[in-house]
């Protein structure tokens, strides 16, 4: 399946969020992940408050409606009173800001004259304050892609949110270690032309970030949000796409979803919603449905909602494996924390029999063209869940709702919350505005260009050169400093030897740390290169090294070789080499041994 994206009016842009490798943005905590048993926990609640304009934000109200409380796990090593919203923030971390300024410079963006820190209302608990601090650093940048220029209207710096550890119907548990880690956010204009182009743009931006450096690496440290809409559709913010390979799928499936929802809207003309909830607990008391039995065993109820004319539509697939009913059920789940929602298009199933389905139809006074929704839970929750379904069902006739959706691992997406309005941002008055600029335009060599240059000028394989370029090494400097050592060996020293040691001995060796010591000795021919893996192993274990056991001085070596030659008169060069190497392996370079053997043979 593929669309003519121009014809359907695709508008697509991405926002890249990349963690920066500095201390936290508004406190001096290190940006580290904490594991194990937290030092203590704090329990909080959040409420929607009116913003600058005097209105409560729609997304904030939505979160308030869920009536959850939040538990924060705190490790003293990674969170402080600022993260706990118990102390005012410090001014913005200068190291993080500098990285963002450099990225802005590479993207040819204009840095704002004075950066204003803002508060973005977020009351899902992921920020202890009820807002996320964010600041627009630069505007109007651009990158070149194979399908033309893509503008970058905004480059911002912001705080990372707290990490969800677990959640249930009433509470969400967060870890505060991640809260406050600096993020650079790069937002493109809605100029991305198609799914593949979206991936390419994301890749390019990722490459730039890694090339500038100072960014965190590894799973979860970079996330893409994708904004997608089609003509007559609605803007959707798809959150948390981590896998680049899935990006084209996300775009394609969202287009598909919107096309299908628009189709439903056109066909749904005769349908309606009866906005009352019918208690059908009595009728389903003996049902063998586990969900219903579970709800009833804890004094719950089964409520039904009548949807005349909806038959067939609720079960209609709008994304692979997802139906309109899935959207309804997402709303109910998110808004009321209920899990037991059934719609008539999927019945009989899940332990609800044909007889029970017919009984529902009859007792609700529905005809064959009509549909119904059942929710089993506590009365309050079931009622709130049906309110959410009513709200979503109403929109089927009117428009596709603007939503923030979660990017699922199969390329589909699920409803998270309504798209926030502009009332979300108000000034962070606890910190000063910042005048910042780079002294001069920041130039970088992209990782791919750098790899090519290393391969060409140092005559090393492209693979090895790429690994060196991606790492954080001053390779040019090392090559220059240790001029007697083959650049390919230095590259191997930095990447292949540690990899090999990890594989063979399961030891992590940061060879760069020992580069001066070990490569220096190699450069002076004090040690043979064969001994280096062993030396690194010893160094990594923290031992003091007796280098003399790895090297022999020339006179000693001469004596050994002379003895070998004299004891084995008439032996071939190969044979003599073999015996001599037995004595000198790891102590003297093979080439040197060969020279000596030749010398004494003559």
């Amino acid at each position: 399946m593929s669309f003519d994206y121009e014809a359907i009016g695709l508008k697509c842009g991405i926002e890249i969020h990349q963690q920066l490798d500095t201390s936290k943005l508004f406190c001096n905590c290190p940006s580290i992940v904490s594991e194990g048993k937290p030092d203590f926990m704090v329990e909080r609640e959040l409420r929607a408050v009116a913003g600058e304009t005097g209105r409560k934000d729609v997304a904030a109200l939505h979160e308030e409606m869920k009536q959850k409380h939040f538990i924060y796990e705190v490790f003293n090593e990674s969170a402080c009173l600022i993260d706990l919203d118990e102390e005012p923030p410090r001014n913005m971390n200068e190291d993080s800001l500098e990285i963002v300024l450099k990225v802005a410079s590479v993207l040819d963006a204009k840095i704002v004259d004075e950066i204003q820190v803002m508060r973005k209302t977020v009351i899902d608990g992921s920020n202890t304050t009820g807002f996320q601090r964010t600041a627009l650093v630069a505007r109007n940048g651009k990158i070149e892609t194979s399908k033309g220029k893509v503008n970058i209207p905004t480059i911002s710096i912001e705080e990372e949110s707290a990490r969800i550890i677990s959640q249930d119907a009433d509470s969400v548990r967060y870890g505060l270690d991640r809260l406050g880690i600096p993020l650079i956010e790069i937002g493109t204009a809605a100029e991305i032309k198609d799914p593949e182009h979206c991936k390419e743009t994301a890749e390019k931006l990722g490459m730039i970030l890694r090339s500038v450096g100072g960014v965190k690496r590894g799973l979860g440290t970079i996330r893409q949000d994708i904004n997608i809409s089609i003509r007559k559709g609605a803007r959707i913010e798809l959150k948390g796409a981590q896998d680049l390979k899935l990006i084209p799928k996300y775009v394609e499936f969202e287009c598909l979803r919107q096309i299908n929802l628009l189709g439903i809207k056109d066909e749904l003309k005769g349908a309606s919603i009866i906005e009352e909830k019918t208690d059908v607990t009595k009728l389903l008391e003996t049902s063998s449905s586990k969900v219903i039995q579970k709800a009833l065993s804890s004094n719950g109820v089964v409520l039904a909602l009548k949807l005349p004319g909806f038959k067939g539509f609720i079960g209609k697939e709008i994304q692979p494996g997802r139906r309109l009913g899935t959207e309804f059920s997402d709303y109910a789940k998110v808004r009321a924390g209920v899990h037991g929602l059934f719609h008539s298009d999927e019945l009989p199933n899940y332990g609800i029999t044909q007889e029970e389905t017919d009984l529902m139809h009859n007792s609700l006074g529905l005809s064959l063209n009509d549909a119904f929704i059942l929710v089993a839970d506590s009365e309050d929750k079931a009622s709130r869940a049906l309110d959410a379904v009513i709200e979503r069902a109403r929109l089927c006739f009117i428009e596709i709702p603007k939503e923030v959706r979660k990017a699922n691992d199969d390329g589909t997406s699920s409803y998270m919350r309504p798209l926030p309005g502009a009332a979300r941002l108000y000034p962070e008055t606890d910190v000063l505005p910042i005048k910042a600029n780079l002294k001069e335009k920041f130039e970088i060599e992209m990782i791919d260009e750098k790899a090519k240059r290393f391969a060409d000028s140092y005559k090393i394989s492209f693979d090895l050169a790429s690994m060196i370029a991606k790492g954080n090494f001053d390779f040019d400097g090392l090559v220059k400093k240790f001029a007697e050592v083959n650049p390919a060996f230095i590259a191997g020293f930095l990447v292949s030897i540690p990899k090999d040691l990890k594989r063979r001995h399961n030891v992590d060796v940061d060879s760069l740390k020992f580069a001066d010591e070990v490569l220096g000795k190699l450069n002076n021919q004090d040690i043979p290169k064969q001994a280096i893996p062993e030396i690194l192993l010893e160094l990594a274990s923290g031992k003091n090294i007796d280098y003399s056991k790895y090297g022999v001085d020339t006179s000693q070596a001469e004596m050994i070789v002379e003895e070998v030659v004299s004891k084995n008169k008439g032996a071939s060069f190969q044979a003599l080499m073999g015996i001599a190497m037995k004595e000198l392996r790891g102590k003297l370079d093979g080439k040197k041994v060969a020279e000596l053997v030749m010398k004494f043979m003559a």
Binding site: E45, G54, D113, E114, Q116
Partner: protein
């Protein structure tokens, strides 16, 4: 044309046109920056020297917000919320970049609709002042307003103010309402009320519960018991102190334990019975007060002439926040002894409280303490907080003259400001 904050404007600079809302600029920040809110919600600062022109696109119209009327339910108790300003009633202030006081009691109800189910609320805003600017006239106004409300049908009163000097106000109002018969509950916020996480929400809910339903006829604070949004503690107004610059649970009972815990669901858990029970007596305010009382921190190397300064300015009483058991320098060039003698000659009472806050002063245990107590007639005020001692001395000197009379009243326990026994409470 002159553009005002809030107007939609177009700013032309050397290299771009920016459309957005003109924002107010705090006066203390660089005046050469113009702040614009872009349509994506972000504010940016533009260097004014780069601006070629600013044109008005759409003038700002202020929308009047309708405050809803508070309803009356005859089966519920009546509580008056007296607001005075502070973080709990603060909104953003674009003049200083900080927050300013603008909330009234109706706003609290707007924000916390459940308050209406706890009590019939009445709102009274008597001043808009940050707590660091408070002094006698404000404490007097608060005490008088509280008495008036309690005598006019309120079952309890809540006072909202800034946190910084909250413990000064509670001590002052404790002395100013000598025959209090109903709860007077001070509450406040450590986090501004414009954020979803503000502690004001639970503090207010618990304060309304305490004012409406508790049987405690004391002046007390109602603030977070811990960093959790779980419960508040009611602490006696003469024994409470702000012990942290910013935490929600900054307010602690010193040399005492809280009177009760108020859970956010309204449950009141009494921790002891040492409080005056609620009655229907008329509440009278007695705000006679001597303002010329100084609170001086004692420290090594201090200049003894600081005492002269106050004596020369006509001060009528001095509280020394002395070190630990009540010491001040008594030997060498920093000795205060001569100055204290001068005070005694002038019949100016000098009160000794401790800057350790925790623990009790002792007039006799060391020779150097006896030099102050026996030798100079200083009044050692047991485990009374220095701030409480300061307000009590002002109150005492509003009623009595001379060292002996002052001493007698200072050592009389009026509102639980001293304890008889030092229990081993948690610090």
């Amino acid at each position: 044309m002159e553009c005002k904050p809030g107007d939609l404007v177009e700013v032309k600079t050397e290299d771009e046109n920016i459309i957005g809302i003109l924002m107010p600029r705090p006066e203390i920040l660089d005046p050469n920056i113009l702040v614009i809110k872009l349509d994506n919600g972000y504010n940016i600062g533009i260097d004014k020297s780069k601006i070629k022109s600013i044109t008005l696109k759409e003038p700002y119209e202020r929308h009047e917000t309708h405050k809803r009327q508070l309803k009356h339910n005859p089966s519920l108790p009546n509580v008056t919320i007296i607001s005075t300003g502070g973080t709990i009633s603060s909104k953003l202030d674009y003049r200083t970049g900080g927050v300013y006081a603008d909330y009234t009691a109706e706003d609290f109800v707007e924000m916390l609709p459940e308050l209406e189910n706890i009590a019939n609320l009445k709102a009274k805003s008597i001043m808009h002042i940050m707590s660091e600017d408070m002094c006698y006239e404000h404490w007097k106004a608060i005490a008088e307003a509280a008495a008036e409300e309690l005598n006019n049908g309120a079952d309890g009163v809540i006072i909202t103010q800034g946190t910084d000097t909250l413990h000064f106000s509670t001590a002052a109002v404790s002395f100013f309402l000598p025959n209090l018969s109903k709860p007077v509950v001070f509450t406040a916020a450590q986090r501004s009320i414009d954020r979803g996480s503000t502690d004001a929400f639970m503090n207010l809910i618990c304060a309304v519960h305490a004012a409406a339903k508790s049987g405690i006829a004391e002046v007390m604070t109602c603030m977070h018991a811990s960093m959790d949004d779980e419960s508040c503690v009611l602490i006696r107004g003469t024994k409470v102190r702000k012990m942290h610059t910013s935490r929600r649970d900054a307010f602690r009972a010193i040399n005492d334990i809280p009177i009760a815990k108020v859970h956010k669901n309204g449950k009141i858990e009494y921790l002891h019975k040492n409080f005056r029970p609620k009655t229907n007596e008329i509440v009278e305010s007695d705000t006679k007060f001597e303002e010329k009382v100084a609170l001086i921190t004692v420290y090594p190397g201090m200049d003894p002439e600081i005492i002269d300064f106050y004596l020369d300015k006509g001060y009528k009483g001095i509280v020394l926040a002395a070190t630990a058991l009540g010491h001040v320098p008594v030997n060498g060039k920093h000795s205060l002894l001569d100055k204290l003698e001068r005070a005694r000659q002038m019949e100016i009472p000098v009160v000794i409280a401790t800057q350790t806050l925790y623990g009790r002063v002792n007039p006799h245990v060391y020779t150097n303490l006896r030099k102050l107590s026996v030798g100079r007639g200083c009044i050692f005020v047991e485990d009374m907080l220095p701030e409480t001692a300061y307000l009590k001395l002002g109150f005492v000197l509003g009623h009595e003259k001379g060292i002996e009379a002052a001493k007698k009243m200072m050592l009389q326990n009026l509102h639980g400001e001293m304890t008889e026994r030092s229990e081993a409470n948690e610090l």
